[in-house]
Amino acid sequence: MKRGVSRRAALRSALGALALGAYPARARAADYATAKDALEAIEGFEAGVERFYLRLDRTTPASRLMIASFRRDRHRHRAHRDRIRRRLGVPRPEAAAASESASGALPDLREALSSLVYAHAEALPALGDPVAVSLLLADLVDLARHLTVVDLWIEAEADRG
């Protein structure tokens, strides 16, 4: 049940501080100045997650259905980001081919997914456009669900010993 995520813990502390009106900017993992920076960060974290999927797809047949579903969501997320780029006039970067992760450990995948989820949250204030925010929020919801699915998988593995 315990979710060992240092990044999330830091963000939670920041959330608590916000209630007291003392939200320190340095407590944030990222404070993107522009939509371009935010979208590029998301794409970097997304590539990090894909590296785990490549490995799991090859080494863990039981994960293939889940990964196929997550990749369908990712396809939609990329389309959303393309729309956001068009709306905001942000150029699309060159896509680099992802290489397989050296680790197939679920906690490492969890950390990579967590970074991607929170990059979406942190990107929202940099967008400055309600439609772009709506699109990225929809992706955030999908990714938070993916993160929970992986949490449940980790818990099931732990229960099995």
Binding site: L18, A19, S69, A121, S134, L137
Partner: protein, 172 residues
């Protein structure tokens, strides 16, 4: 869950006292609100009302011992999250010089007497909260509240996904 999702989400939002413009957003009949301090406050109050309801549901179910042992841990975790969301948003309302909305006296929990009824009621309020934060967040004007609401949304999705899994609803 026999009632269509949009209907029960709207019903919960109505019961929570949401204003007509916010209900319009939730129901898809309105597309945007003017970005203003007043609307940020209305969004805060609407979100806070749902947090109060979620806390009441979880606390009642926990007091009645309706969760199986393995699920009780989740319920304790999730009610803790909701209390954190409540306190954060109460702080934000007070920062704006307003008085936060209080919990209602009655959340119609009399019939929640079985584990299955409790799980379904928890899932219902989590879906409503997830939908509410997703729809309302794009209307938030204040940078820090937008970020806070996004973090809260991540928690709501976690809660919803866990209860869906427990109830055998597809999660991927």
């Amino acid at each position: 869950m026999a009632e269509p999702r949009r209907d029960f989400v709207t019903r919960l939002a109505c019961a929570a006292g949401w204003s007509a413009p916010l209900l319009g957003l939730l129901g898809g009949t309105a597309r945007a609100l003017p970005k203003s301090e007043e609307n940020d406050l209305a969004i805060l109050e609407a979100s806070l009302a749902l947090e109060h309801e979620a806390i009441a549901i979880y606390e009642t179910a926990l007091q009645r011992n309706l969760f199986l042992a393995g699920l009780r841990t989740y319920a304790v975790e999730f009610v803790g999250d909701h209390k954190g969301h409540r306190d954060t948003q109460i702080g934000l309302v007070r920062q704006r010089g307003a008085r936060p909305v209080s919990p209602r006296d009655d959340y119609d929990l009399g019939r929640m007497r079985t584990g299955d009824a409790a799980l379904r009621r928890c899932l219902e309020v989590e879906i409503a909260a997830q939908r509410a934060y997703q729809v309302l967040n794009s209307q938030i004007r204040t940078r820090d509240y937008l970020l806070t609401a996004a973090f809260i949304l991540v928690d709501e999705v976690r809660h919803e996904t866990v209860w869906k899994r427990v109830l055998g609803v597809k999660i991927y």
